[in-house]
Symmetry: C2
Subunit: 285 residues, 2 copies
């Protein structure tokens, strides 16, 4: 199944009219799960590449940007994040970042597709190094149903680390889902969700923020960051807080964090809160 002569693997993004590609040396693995087709490619410069139903999910080289930004800003914004739920995130990279925070007592990852995690364990073992942490729980279940059934007011942070809002992940971007989330959160709890590219999905972001507010979240905030393997190379996450505004974060905690990161630091966090002019206009901030 593997070739030796490098060739180029492209993903064409129909919505944005742009494409991203990597030079690959061959396909290492492929599995058709109950939900989707998962492929693993080897690249010349980006390590391993995971593709789900033709959509590039992550590479060994650049996933640190996304995983750090999905975990650390929300955890340093919450005053005392003890119980964390990750919806999606089957590659386990977000879970690993979450468990770097010592105050987290329990983190459950709920991905519908066990095969994603099995492939990650095999081809991205560094992302799975905290899977056996006693605070970690891995469930393979429908995240929408899971959030509906979580006991009310028991969660501090919800991280929605999903694929694009089409197919299995579509139901993670609407008001009904956010109502489940807000119910599950304690007061002051925070939801963070990957929110696509500021340059080509500003409409989606506005809709997402609108649905979050309509569901009852008190405040929303979108943080952009670079992510080469996703459309335009510029991505974002959106935070929504229950009960109070999203003013500031635990700067002293971020400054003196006890773990290593490659992108995130206290200044990067502060910088990510800044809205470029066109976003400020779009959101009416």
């Amino acid at each position: 199944m593997s070739t030796t002569e490098p060739t180029w693997y492209y993903e064409n993004f129909e919505h944005s009219g742009s494409a991203i590609g990597f030079r690959v040396t061959g396909k290492l693995d492929e599995v058709q799960s109950e939900f989707q087709k998962i492929e693993i490619w080897d690249t010349t410069d980006w390590g391993k590449l995971m593709v789900i139903d033709g959509a590039i999910m992550l590479t060994t080289r650049d996933n640190f940007l996304y995983h750090e930004m999905m975990a650390h800003p929300v955890l340093f914004t919450h005053s005392n994040p003890k119980r964390v739920v990750i919806i999606g995130g089957g590659d386990c990279g977000t879970l690993r970042e979450v468990l770097k925070h010592k105050e987290v007592e329990h983190a459950v990852q709920v991905d519908i597709d066990e095969q994603v995690t099995r492939m990650a364990e095999k081809y991205f073992p560094e992302l799975c190094e905290s899977n056996h942490d006693p605070r970690a729980e891995l469930l393979f279940d429908d995240g929408i149903a899971y959030m509906k059934n979580v006991a009310e007011g028991t969660v501090d942070v919800i991280i929605v680390d999903s694929t694009d809002p089409v197919g299995p992940a579509e139901g993670l971007f609407n008001e009904a889902f956010y109502v489940s989330c807000i119910r599950a959160l304690r007061n002051g709890g925070i939801l963070v969700q990957q929110s696509e590219s500021p340059l080509v999905h500003i409409g989606l972001m506005k809709a997402m923020r609108h649905h979050m507010t309509a569901a009852g979240f008190a405040d929303t905030r979108t943080l952009p960051f670079p992510q080469p393997c996703y459309p335009t190379g510029w991505w974002s996450c959106t935070l929504a807080r229950k009960g109070s505004e999203l003013a500031g974060f635990r700067e002293r905690g971020a400054q003196s964090k006890s773990f290593a990161t490659r992108y995130y630091n206290v200044d990067v966090h502060r910088a990510a809160l800044v809205q470029p002019e066109f976003m400020r206009e779009a959101f009416g901030d």
Copy 2:
């Protein structure tokens, strides 16, 4: 020469093992100048696309990011930028941003290839709208030779808006060129240069900063920003100052700027000064 059925135009970056593409509807124009082949393509979502010797230079939709970041941070860092030299920049987009600053009395753009400007006038007229400003001067000449001959201590800001450091632009990335620049600058004067992608060109950045310091610049600083049409979608510019450190910028001026921007604002400027963890480590900051 034009087609109607959309197809995909890809640029494969050999150095980084990654690729960027756009959906195009046809080639609108092509000219082989004395120096390089310039192509103009029409895209479905990104307006016009300019390609030089196979390298994507800009699109109508995303060039504002690059042009704003090449002009405004340096001009709001200099205390009183009156005389500006742009080396390269033949599409005139940087010149347009520079001339938004009222204190600029003279801005000369020195691009070796007149055909780039002729193509920009035709296909990116919005970028050329300040070409007839009485403060603007357009020269079509070798930027390296030009900088050698500038009268000593007469320039406030030099903007090196060039192609990659291969081919015609190679001589714009070495110590000899920086020596010419520092000679031309007044004390406190600032050079800014596009410095490629933080993710795949950190070695080039380090070399560039080293050459700048060796040439006599007192301080250097690299500012990252998103730029979808360049490798990884994440780009940067590097500032170097003659005679004094690069501490701070004219925040009040940036806050009350009299012109519109789409990416840049005072907070974006502050955020761009932040170094992600891996850059901090690479530069030993």
